[in-house]
Symmetry: C2
Subunit: 345 residues, 2 copies
């Protein structure tokens, strides 16, 4: 009969060395090793040398699961975004992570796919890792999510949105104001035959509806919204323009809820021989990373994802390390800017 657990048998890799192994080799107590690694200022140089030598000799890598369990800190920040395929989220996440890793934190990424159902599931799973902070795109969460987030007792930053009911901190911009300003901007330039093309995502829809409302307020009622399913693709942009032109052949401007579908609109216009911005103007929304540079024909609303990411990191780190600060709720409007084709050229 063969024993099931062959405990002594060094299969391939011996179990990784522990702090105790290091201590034994260095000839000091385990706690001294711990201190030499985490708070060297509390340890004599002689002891440090012995410890570091032993660490190198063993190839010791501290087990943060154990450390986290003991200290009740994980040095983990959870980040929830709908997708990273969208360059504006990618930019934000990138900036956030860059700032975070500099401070010794790691990022746990959760991709929600614009579904707050999925967000809730992921949240459950990720809360089990006891992150020291949570970043969420958007302010629309399920009730269960909100409750869990509040009970978790850790800093929460909602980004990309400013609402009246923050869970904790908020860093973003007002989608309503984007809509209002875009509408005003285009109205003032003389456009009157508006069409709106929106992705079926909550924030995109809010911007789009705000455009329509503002235009109505200015005397242009009944502007149609064409809605295409997320995620954004060039093809849905093309399809969108097709549908718009079928209904309103005389549209003189199409306001899109994202850069990607705006590019699709441009592609469709090009393939139909419609000149932009001659016969038709197109407005996008995003990070300007590519669209507006390649297409001077495209006007766009510019959001600075990098800035958002950096501010989030800053806010989070202040809370996490600056222990003194008691819950100063934070509300930062990172704003946006409207880039016009005229000024781009």
């Amino acid at each position: 009969m063969v024993k099931k657990s062959n405990k002594g048998t060094p299969q391939s890799a011996a179990a990784s060395p522990t702090l105790i192994d290091v201590a034994r080799i260095a000839g000091v107590s385990p706690i001294t090793v711990s201190r030499a690694l985490n708070r060297p200022e509390l340890v004599s140089v002689a002891a440090q040398d012995k410890v570091f030598a032993a660490v190198r000799a063993t190839g010791y890598v501290p087990n943060m699961l154990a450390g986290g369990l003991a200290t009740n800190k994980s040095r983990l920040i959870a980040i929830f975004v709908p997708t990273i395929a969208n360059s504006i989220f990618a930019e934000t996440v990138q900036a956030l992570m860059d700032s975070l890793t500099g401070e010794g934190y790691q990022a746990l990424l959760g991709l929600t796919g614009y579904s707050n159902q999925r967000e809730e599931q992921l949240l459950d799973a990720i809360l089990g890792r006891r992150p020291d902070g949570i970043v969420l795109a958007g302010t629309l969460h399920t009730d269960a999510s909100r409750e869990r987030l509040c009970k978790a007792g850790i800093p929460v930053v909602e980004i990309w949105d400013l609402s009246d009911t923050p869970i904790d901190m908020q860093i973003g911009f007002s989608h309503e104001r984007v809509g209002i300003e875009v509408a005003g901007h285009l109205f003032d330039k003389g456009y009157r035959h508006f069409s709106v093309l929106s992705l079926d995502d909550p924030r995109g829809l809010r911007r789009s509806r705000s455009v329509v409302d503002e235009l109505a307020r200015r005397g242009v009622p009944g502007v149609p919204i064409e809605i295409v399913p997320a995620p954004a693709t060039l093809l849905s942009g093309r399809e969108g323009l097709r549908r718009i032109l079928a209904q309103r052949p005389h549209a003189d401007v199409v306001i899109c809820s994202s850069d990607t579908i705006a590019e699709g609109v441009l592609a469709e216009a090009a393939s139909r021989g419609i000149t932009v911005p001659g016969q038709l103007s197109v407005m996008g929304f995003g990070d300007l990373s590519s669209a507006a540079q390649v297409f001077p024909a495209l006007s766009t609303v510019r959001i600075d994802g990098t800035r958002i990411g950096q501010r989030v990191a800053q806010a989070l780190l202040a809370r996490v390390s600056g222990q003194g600060r008691e819950h100063d709720p934070l509300w930062i409007d990172t704003g946006f800017s409207i880039i016009d084709r005229d000024s781009t050229r």
Copy 2:
């Protein structure tokens, strides 16, 4: 005198409930709670009901740090890519994460910024989390990294590259072959005045050099490589074309190491009134997510990041859960395809 540790005092949020709390409320032993949650088939339905009720009542969230420490499994997969701002990596990471979360794993993302120095640092930090598997873009690592990876004793997948010295598994394609096929393709179409524009990243350079070598082999020696610094931006693409044209005004095709700089080349060409593909042809490289759709003028090498991501997940999960399988080294060529402007139109 005030006791320092005010154990009973509910400051703001009482410490989150533990499995023991749940057990007490459910009137069972802790281990029964654990089993009800992880292997319900071992627990009577009556007990399960009591446990789940107690879980709901307390809002209990299992502490995976503790669980991981006890089981020596973290259900964490570390993913290292240079950046997610590049849509092809974003696509790969997205697909990988989607497959992973379905199986109860979470992703720890590490952004190396094309520096294997930075990769090494990050690796150190992340290995401390005891991930169950590691995915790395590229096969160029520091010696220290390679050693740590081998010693970690966990599945390692190198993606985006196929080399002769795999650490463990490899899933990707041959950059040399891309270069060879691109060179052959364009040569056969009759081009003779080649220019190569490459980002300063290891894989891009390998493709570019391979193009040059293959062209030399075919009797077109001395093709110049213009190198622009990473990360890819449209502006560096524009700058690149400027430099190329300054040296070789009669270039008839520019081969770019990424879609983004190819788009920059197109933009620069447009602003100079150079027609594409009439006067100048442009070849890109990437995921076809936007470039080749919007620019039928752009030929490109297409890499399917989604497929790579899915295969990686598959390979990893097979290793992690399919305990039986002993180290079957894996080598998958996911291939690429050359998309021509003629066939795109």
